[in-house]
Amino acid sequence: MKTRLAILSLIIFLAVLPAFAGKYLLYVTIHILLLSIFSLGFNLLFGYTGLLSFGQAGFYAVGAYGCAKILLAYPSLLAGIIGGVALAGVASLVLGILCIRHTRIYFSMLTLSFGMMIFSLAWKWRDMTGGDDGLVGIPRAPLEIPGLLRLNMAPMENYYYVVLVFSLLAIYLFHRLVHSPLGLTLQGIRDSETRTACVGISVRNYRLVSFTIAGMYAGLAGALLPPLESTVTPPVAHWSFSAEPVLATLLGGIYTFSGPIVGAFLFYVLKDIIVRFTQYWLICLGAIVLVLVLGFRGGVVSIFQGKGGRG
């Protein structure tokens, strides 16, 4: 009951935020929401299925570039977002088939490698991606359902609400997913792949399902970026960007539902503080990872739950 109240208050808070927050705060909140979606997908793979992927930024990039290309040709926000997610889904399905048949260690190696392959593509394929200049002039296209409605997205508040709705939807779907028989199957795979096979489940197939869904979540987060920033550049595919959902989830709590979301928020708070003192932000990120892995694996959410609990 308490959790429901907390969640409701949070949603209400987020809903009324534009009334008193300036543009910059809305901008940061959007980024926190994007990282939340990105991290939820990452954690579906890691906390729920036991697969550690260091290449999720690759699918974020596919979503981002995909959406950007669509918007540049056909300025409809929905088309861009859905197109970006779909492309990311296809990419993760294809790469997933290559990656999931292996042991967890090979899997992690391969995800890092393929993620960077996508980065190379983004960086070198000038004709398609604009090379290291990236894609520019991406319109914050109106939210349009032909015949039904047309909402102008120029004001930041409007786009904020679009992102908020997509985020809440994504979180809600995620909740249904992980508390379903499919979610139980994935957790079984995490806990013991041998045992899962010996209760009649094809481990490979479900790993692929998990990988594809995670890729689509990364793609959704990515697709929501271009209308906000109006540009997309190669760094969104880089392995150091893949580190963000990893850290956010570690911070918030790996085996919990809300960990990635809490972690996304903490991530931005930390980054904001650290960046004021030093430009060597990655060293701090790395150091935080070390501290968390060595001493504090439950993440922040576990403090509120007692070990072994689930959000």
Binding site: R176, S180, D191, G308
Partner: protein
């Protein structure tokens, strides 16, 4: 009595070493069979081959007449072959209840549903509760399985194996690593499962009292081959078998 599983010339080799060699045997449906033999005789390898965990280098396996030699383990479960593991293999972070619910959902082909809640799967939930009762773990229902005592984990392991409602179930040393009290409980459960379910059980076991009191049929392995098989009395009086146990009371 009908044959339920049969092997022909089954072999598995690790380099020069034959873990299992030229094994021809048949299990009869409804017979409680014990597989015994000294350490390293190939008993666990045999179970691994029969359950699909390992693929053989030679020979064939037939389940109710259909060849299943190279069938993947998950498919074998679907056609009715299940097993438990010598080294504990449960789902530690899932609750005891969920440990049983998952194989039940799998059996009902409902484990892939992405959006329905677990509680809404009435049939599966009821069956899982029943099995939980059957293996005496009702009280531990909501504990994470990793927190159970060693003995209870073994009960859970057996529960997972029978939750698939198998026609044939292999139990690999179900009482290994247990203290005497736990052993009694586990073996009581095995007896109960054998009596109450329509599953043909085949167990690898070292406790000779259990073997001779429970079994309808005994298979003796030594150095990867079948040394002898037959009814308990025949085995008890078999000189070769007595020799490999070096005069132990059997």
């Amino acid at each position: 009595m009908k044959e339920i599983i049969r092997t022909e010339g089954l072999g598995k080799y690790f380099g020069e070493m034959a873990a299992v060699h030229q094994v021809n045997f048949t299990l009869q449906e409804g017979f409680f069979t014990s597989i015994i033999g000294p350490n390293g005789a190939g008993k666990t390898t045999l179970i691994n081959l029969l359950s699909g965990y390992l693929l053989p280098d030679a020979g064939k396996i037939f389940f109710r007449g259909t060849e299943i030699t190279r069938m993947r383990p998950e498919k074998r479960v679907k056609i009715g072959i299940s097993r438990s593991f010598q080294v504990m293999n449960i789902f530690p972070r899932l609750t005891v209840f969920e440990n049983i619910l998952l194989p039940v959902l799998s059996r009902l082909n409902k484990n892939a549903r992405p959006f329905s809640s677990l509680n809404s799967q009435k049939e599966a939930v009821e069956e899982a509760e029943r099995i939980l009762n059957e293996v005496w773990l009702r009280e531990e229902r909501d504990l994470p399985a990793g927190q159970l005592s060693h003995g209870d984990q073994r009960l859970l392991e057996l529960g997972i194996a029978v939750a698939a409602n198998p026609q044939l179930c292999f139990l690999d040393e179900p009482s290994s690593g247990m203290n005497p009290i736990e052993r009694i409980k586990v073996l009581e459960l095995v007896k109960k499962l054998s009596a109450e379910r329509k599953t043909t059980l085949a167990i690898v076991e070292h406790d000779m009292d259990v073997v001779f009191s429970l079994s309808d049929w005994i298979v003796v392995m030594n150095r990867g081959e079948i040394l002898a098989e037959g009814k308990p009395d025949d085995i008890r009086n078999n000189q070769e078998v007595r020799d490999i146990y070096l005069g132990e009371e059997i």
